[in-house]
Symmetry: D3
């Protein structure tokens, strides 16, 4: 009996979207007001989706104490109340929410590989940037014939 | 690195559910109070889900200026503050939210085929009709036996 | 044209997480404050996701009168304003939201097998336990290599 | 010990904003796209706020069975899944959400005067027309200079 | 410059509504399914509203570290993941959300009187019991000529 | 017939909480992680509450076209996608949400004094900084003995 758990965490952070390889005009064209040199910010909601067998004794897919410890250490303490542009990763990559999503997934995957969630697996990471925009990696509600 | 973006748009519209091919009694049985001859209405939330490679320069799956232009032109300006029954498409088809969902997907697909979103692809359209009811096409959280 | 409908129902119930096969210390370690002997409670939101062909006459995936009758009879009237530990099923299994999710799916599947939803199929059940935690079975946003 | 209870009810209805006393051009200027001759619609959330002593035996401000019976009879059954322009009241008055708010308050006040809520009093009615717009009558979060 | 801050805290608890002074039949009449002997539960959202001068140096109405310490100690740690009927206060009083609201206000008032919030004042406590029901004490959106 | 309208606008901005008149240690004590030198950010929801007579012809408290023009010009275009610390006002005052609230109210009041909303009056401004924290000025749900 494989089931899924999604748990939401919250971050407030700032960022400026600006690519070093683009000219000023290209940056404005690509990022609009998000290119404002002094930055702006968001309340990000990070939903971590894990899957696994429902344990026959505890009735749980994943120990929530472990999940919270993992996500708080790897993600919330790292990114909450920060400026994303100050991270090494975002020196070479623009700190869009897509790239933040990939980075959150990468950090959690490494922790999960080290056993942070016991037998539960990391399925996907979904980030809500505003009440209208959300991002998801690596899995979304897509399925096409012959996909992958 | 393929990721997904969901972006929400809002429409207020009215409709009456009534099938020409059914009798009055059958219409009442099929649609209940939604068959009220003078119609009723909803605030529809249309979430458009697109997928694509995260661009290595901009860090984005899809240019939001393009996405907004596409959805506003094709969908919001067309359907917002209207009576759905007045559209040609809904002369032959009952303007249920399922059929609105198919029509929104069809209109956006054509625009995407004409290049409206650059390299990003349309994955799915999800419409919330009320805070309790939502519809999705063509993809949902479905997975068939043997899929794993 | 196969589309999907998600409809949300609400339950308030109490539970205590406690496994007979574990010692007191193990129960505290596994369930923390959820092991409190007098229980606690939640407002559960149960989203039932069904799929099917959009009917060419009615424009609907599923008759909502049938869906409501089915979910109200099988789930809401059974579990709303109850203590989950008092159900026979939860004598042997801890009434975690994972196990509640499996039970809701099982009960609805049987009703659907008896024809409760006409031609519509049960795709998944998703339960929100709090505004931060949700569970889903059997389908989630997962896709592995080779699927389909 | 006087306390307050707010309870939310939901209506889907359509309307067209059009004043008989204004010209076509004035109607368009006043109401914009809400003047569309075929109407449009909303999901209205009606929050009814009542106040009263907390009963020393039951611990309640108002019997919810009575409150639901009153609001369902007077408001929900009357306006849900209707076109507001078809009501006599809205022949002379434009069915804006402000006027709907006044009418809901008037109808509930009469019922309360007839004893529908026992000793509880009607304090205010607040209607959410969309997720961004809400209306309230007769009381709001207003306080005049010198009020302290 | 006096301004207001509302901050939300979350509790999951169970309760049974039952008055010792009423007969079985009266209890059922007064509380319906909330009188179920094994109880049920809710996710309560407790919004604490404080007011005060905006400090000319810090720009804040209330130190959030103090507010969180106060509400967590007095309310969250006391009531979260508990059965409300097990508290002494609720031996004599039915643990309705109205009575919980009065008790939360009383506990916070005492802490504020002991200086827990510095110069900020406690204005009101509002509890959401479900997404449809909320309670507030002692202040609500009521104001009548000559009130109080 | 005086009624009230609340309308919500959205801003994304960054800020750093730091008072020039305080030492480094005092700044850390007062603002904690909000004192991070590179700032952080939020999605602010600004709810503008206006009151007025319901116009007997249009049935409206306030012309929404005027209200949107006023709030977009004075507030959204000024503060959206900016760093609040770069504004002259916030050189002398810490850009807490309390101070942002006072500034938004001040800017809107001046516009209203110049006739921006016709006969409607500005009642209050409420800002949600996160899903848990909100601020309001000058009016809140407070009422003292003898008020009015």
């Amino acid at each position: 009996m494989r089931a899924y758990l999604g748990r939401r965490y919250r971050l407030s952070a700032s960022h400026r979207l600006h690519a070093e390889s683009l000219s000023e005009a290209e940056n404005r064209a690509a990022f609009g007001k998000c290119n404002n040199p002094f930055g702006h910010g968001h309340n990000y909601v990070v939903e971590v989706i894990v899957g696994g067998e429902v344990d026959s004794v505890t009735g749980m897919v994943c120990d929530l104490v472990k999940l919270d410890a993992c996500v708080n250490t790897e993600i919330v303490e790292r990114f909450d109340h920060t400026n994303l542009n100050t991270f090494e990763r975002f020196e070479k990559e623009v700190p869009t929410t897509e790239n933040l999503n990939l980075e959150v997934y990468r950090l959690l995957s490494h922790a999960v590989d080290r056993g942070a969630l016991g037998k539960a697996e990391l399925v996907s990471v979904r980030i809500e940037e505003t009440s209208n925009n959300s991002f998801e990696y690596p899995v979304a509600r897509e399925r096409k014939a012959g996909a992958e």
